[in-house]
């Protein structure tokens, strides 16, 4: 399969009062159609910045993003984003939230009935058809995130961008959501970029895991191919030696090669020497 999305040598420099801050340095990644790619790294390493550049919410300082042969210059529904904290409009019901997106993307292409069916289809896909007419404050965190995913899917994006979509959920709900996402992915085979800091989530869901080095001047450290058979089952995988090897590869990268230096400790000399010897 050919490259759908080309993240081409991106540098990202933010101006700050104390001079410029280089967040990203030469991030280069090609993603094929139908591929599920996770970005993993310690917090503050610029994962979200990469995603925001792909979304068009930020403009890269140098380099650029090319989607299906066209350069990305502004946000757009063909690169739908699932935000970390759902970002549903609190005054609209689940149905209306999805409707807003459908109206905007398919406003003239679908008639009323088609739109209604499409909205309901997407809510059904995330198992939210029972609470379509509830507002965000009447449903749980996991359910809100489901609606957020339904809204993004309803835009029929070329690339689905997910910014730590399950980061704010408890472990059980998160596992449930991951299973749901795999189910949907099985059906739709979307191209997905997902940011996560959960190693299990990355291995379970991804085709490739992109591991990022720590900032400033963060870049891609290693890329791990996850060649596990689909559909994947978390229970049987937990005993699978290959799964565990992949998992330990990611852990090794994160906790040995790119150990997060605790800035508070490194300020005192004695403690920083202690961590070096440890």
């Amino acid at each position: 399969m050919s490259t759908l999305l080309d993240i081409s040598h991106i540098d990202m420099v933010f101006p700050t009062p104390t001079g410029s801050f280089t967040a990203l340095k030469d991030v280069d990644l090609k993603i094929k159609k139908g591929e599920f790619v996770s970005l993993i790294g310690h917090s503050g390493c610029g994962k979200s910045t990469v995603l925001n550049v792909v979304a068009g919410l930020y403009q890269a300082t140098t380099g650029g993003v090319i989607l299906s042969g066209k350069e990305v210059t502004e946000p757009g529904p063909e690169r739908a984003v699932v935000f970390q904290n759902h970002s549903l409009l609190p005054w609209l019901t689940a149905y209306q939230n999805v409707e807003l997106a459908v109206e905007q993307v398919f406003g003239s292409k679908m008639n009323k009935q088609e739109k209604k069916e499409w909205i309901e289809h997407n809510l059904k896909l995330v198992h939210m058809d029972h609470a379509m007419y509830k507002r965000p404050n009447e449903i749980s965190g996991g359910m809100k995130q489901r609606v957020g995913i339904a809204r993004a899917l309803a835009m029929q994006p070329e690339v689905l961008l997910m910014d730590e979509p399950f980061g704010a959920l408890d472990a059980l709900t998160r596992a449930h959501m991951q299973d749901s996402l795999m189910e949907i992915q099985n059906e739709l085979n979307n191209t997905v970029i997902m940011i996560t800091h959960d190693v299990d989530e990355a291995v379970l869901l991804s085709d490739r895991i992109v591991m990022m080095t720590n900032g400033p001047s963060a870049t891609i450290g290693e890329i791990l191919k996850v060649d596990l058979e689909r559909p994947r089952d978390r229970l049987s995988l937990s005993k699978d030696p290959h799964y565990n090897r992949l998992r330990s590869d990611v852990l090794t990268f994160l906790y040995e090669k790119q150990r997060k230096v605790e800035t508070i400790k490194s300020k005192t000399v004695t403690k920083s020497t202690q961590t070096k010897t440890a």
């Binding site: 068009g56 529904p77 984003v81 970002s87 005054w91 905007q104 507002r135």
Partner: protein, 331 residues
Amino acid sequence: MTTSSVSSKLDLSSAKSAKLQQFVKATTKMLALPLLGIMIFLLLWSIAAKNIHTSLGEFPGPNAVLNQFNSLYNEHTAEREKADKFYERQEVRNAKRVEADPTYQPKVRKYTGKETFLDQIITSLITVTSGFLLAAIIAIPLGIAMGLSKNLNSAINPIIQIFKPVSPLAWLPLVTMVVSALYVSNDPLVSKSFVNSLLTVTLCSLWPMVINTSIGVSSLDQDLKNVSRVLRLPILTHIRKIVLPASVPMIFTGMRLSFGVAWMVLIAAEMLAQNPGLGKFVWDEFQNGSSDSLARIMAAVIVIGFIGFILDRGMLQLQRLASWDKSATTV
């Protein structure tokens, strides 16, 4: 009777008494305490009133004020009766003249008796509402524009900060002169005094709405802005679907504050502009200087306070109806 039946009866009665106790507690809090507060206030008021001697006699106590409420109401009904009789007489007279001369075009003249206290209350309410609505029509779009554009906000904010603390009494002479220069008509739809009071109310109640609306709009969640950008919503749809609903709670808070200001300003404006409302009533009674005047003014003070309270509650109800965020509308 067995012991168990006795104890179950006791349980029942104790449960009943617990309920009763709760009821008594609730009513004490809701009714008895406010009533007690009012009683003590009335007592202190009447004691203080007896010891204040003005050139118009003793300061009116609660009793004198109550009497004036009564007589204000009687004056109102008497005036209405007079008006009814006037129209009756006019009709009979016109009928007679038409009978005598079929070509006669009957003239209908309006009754020109003096406004009663109730008429003045209604005039005040109409004036304050019109002034407030005019302010809202200007303030809300302006606030939205300022909230959306940081540059516009920086440009306009200093002007707002300077005009916000200006007293209505300072505006009124300017408004009066401008209105009499520009509002020239042989058959004016509304009187100049009404326009003067209205514009003064508008000028003073504009600012809280502008400020609150602009804050509400500018504090729109970045994530929601991003949703709008990803969807590529056109600017008007963005305002209609995202900005407006998100800032409705703040807009209504501003409107409530503004309405409070408007009501305060109105009384002062009416006094000076001689708009026949509550402000003019107070001023006329003060100029009148009869032995009842102070009691009548005190009655007006109470009415003004009561109406202000009811208007505020009305705005709160409106806010609750319009807002999706029910937690933002606590008293």
